[in-house]
């Protein structure tokens, strides 16, 4: 059974002016352990789709199934990472990364230790008792990753988590996130504007058209690139041809 099934999802935003169709007849299945990227012009409803998968909003029409069950009943299996870290400034790093455990009732000495161990493993040492403002942007986003992973979600939704970082930090974090997700065999959906990032990190890339959001095409990344870390993939000879292909595809989307 696929871990995620999106079945004929339609979603409309209603405002005082009008009702706008954000997503139109969207269908997609994702297998366990897969890494998918969503690429497309702004306004193509990618963030809306993530919110629907996360069970935060209900689709106007259609169904989203996680392991065969309705998405809104499966919130606990989803981890969501936003563009900015949104660490709570009044909580210490430890309190921040364990908040999910506390809210889901999974908090115990064991899970606390595991979470702190993960924090140290991804290079955040001696910051447990610090406050977020004392950390750099990259460190904060890493803490946000730990917060997301702490509750052991099966699917990770990454909503442009690297776009607010400087280029070098972004490349390092891509590798770190990729390795961490592979290690724990997580399924991930990444929303991004960066074609290179999509190719470097994912197994499949979903290209969206805008207004209303619709899947234009799904591109499979060659196995040669999938095996590499994102940083290596960017240097790989197969990288450039697929980049060109997606670039042209997106150009044609924007022109129509």
């Amino acid at each position: 059974m696929p871990i995620l099934t999106i079945d004929q999802v339609m979603h409309a935003y209603v405002t005082n002016q009008s009702a706008v169709l954000a997503l139109n007849h969207l269908s997609l299945t994702v297998e366990r352990g897969e890494f998918l990227s969503f690429l497309g012009p702004s306004g193509c409803g990618k963030t809306t789709l993530l919110s629907i998968i996360a069970g935060l909003i209900e689709p106007t029409k259609g169904r989203v199934l996680i392991e065969g069950k309705e998405a809104k009943t499966m919130r606990q299996t989803i981890g969501y990472m936003l563009q900015h870290d949104y660490l709570f400034p009044w909580k210490t790093i430890e309190q921040n990364v364990t908040i999910g455990l506390k809210l889901t009732g999974k908090y115990s000495e064991k899970t606390r230790k595991q979470t702190l161990a993960l924090l140290h493993q991804i290079g955040l040492r001696d910051v447990d008792d610090r406050y977020p403002y004392e950390l750099s942007g990259g460190m904060r986003q890493r803490a946000a990753l730990v917060r997301t992973l702490a509750t052991d979600p099966k699917i990770l939704l990454l909503d442009e988590p690297f776009s607010a970082l400087d280029y070098q930090t972004k490349l390092k974090l891509e590798d770190l996130v990729w390795e961490t997700l592979k290690q724990y065999r997580k399924t991930a959906l990444l929303v991004t504007h960066d074609i290179g990032e999509a190719i470097a990190m994912s197994d499949r890339i979903v290209l969206f058209t805008a207004k209303p959001g619709k899947i234009k095409r799904v591109v499979s990344v060659p196995d040669s690139l999938k095996a590499c870390t994102p940083f290596q993939a960017r240097q790989h000879p197969d990288f450039s041809p697929i980049f060109q292909m997606i670039w042209k595809e997106l150009e044609s989307i924007e022109q129509t």
Binding site: A54, L56, R75, Q76, I78, G79, Y80, L82, H84, Y86, F88, P89, W90, I99, G100, L103, T104, Y131, Y133, T151
Partner: protein, 268 residues
Amino acid sequence: MNKHEWLQRIYDQHIAYEKREKRIVRFFQTIIVIAFFSLWEIASRFHWIDPLLFSSPSSIWHLFITKVRDHTLFSHTTITLTETVLGFIVGTIAGICFAALLWWFPRVSKIVDPYLVILNAMPKVALGPILIVALGPNMTSIVAMGAIISIIITTIVVYTSFKEVDANYIKVLQTFGATKRQWFTEAILPASFPTMISTLKVNVGLSWVGVIVGEFLVSKQGLGYMIIYGFQVFNFTLVLLSLLMIALLSSIMYQLVSWFEKKLIKRA
């Protein structure tokens, strides 16, 4: 000279400069106080100003000693201080509770919005006579005055800050399946602490206004009573003594709130 010593020297210079700056500021602040009171005393002695109206620091001091000896100053001050602190606490807490209620029930907030605007625009001290008739000419109505003057503005300001908390913090909590109650305790409330502290600071001043006006009207006891009594018997030394006491006590309350702020808000 090595790098370390060089840095140390630059640091020492900076600290020395800061210390000097602080001393200069303190010096001028002291000078102003001394100059103000000396000038006041001299102007009064030489009748540049009418001593009957403006009194003088020395006569205020003598009155202070007398009033301390016969224990009347202490009792009046304690009464006023109790009323103010109670009014301040009741007003602030009730205001925050109302704000929480409005946040919890958005429809209620939509319904009461115009009434809040009217209540806020209305000068609350004008309600004084009604309060005194309703609650009796006693401490309760004075505390109510101290509270009512700050309650509406606290509600409006705190509710606005509740609404302005970044929705993405809620989104983070939602992804962990948090309840609405948890949104409030984990994000909305702590995110609004800085705003609440600044309303506390405003409320210190407002409660004093409410309580003093209340004491004017009830005219039985307290520093406000001392002012109105001094005014009626033309004893402006008494009026000024009360004013100085109020200034002193309200500054102490303000300092306490600042101290509380430092305790509560740990981030820079």
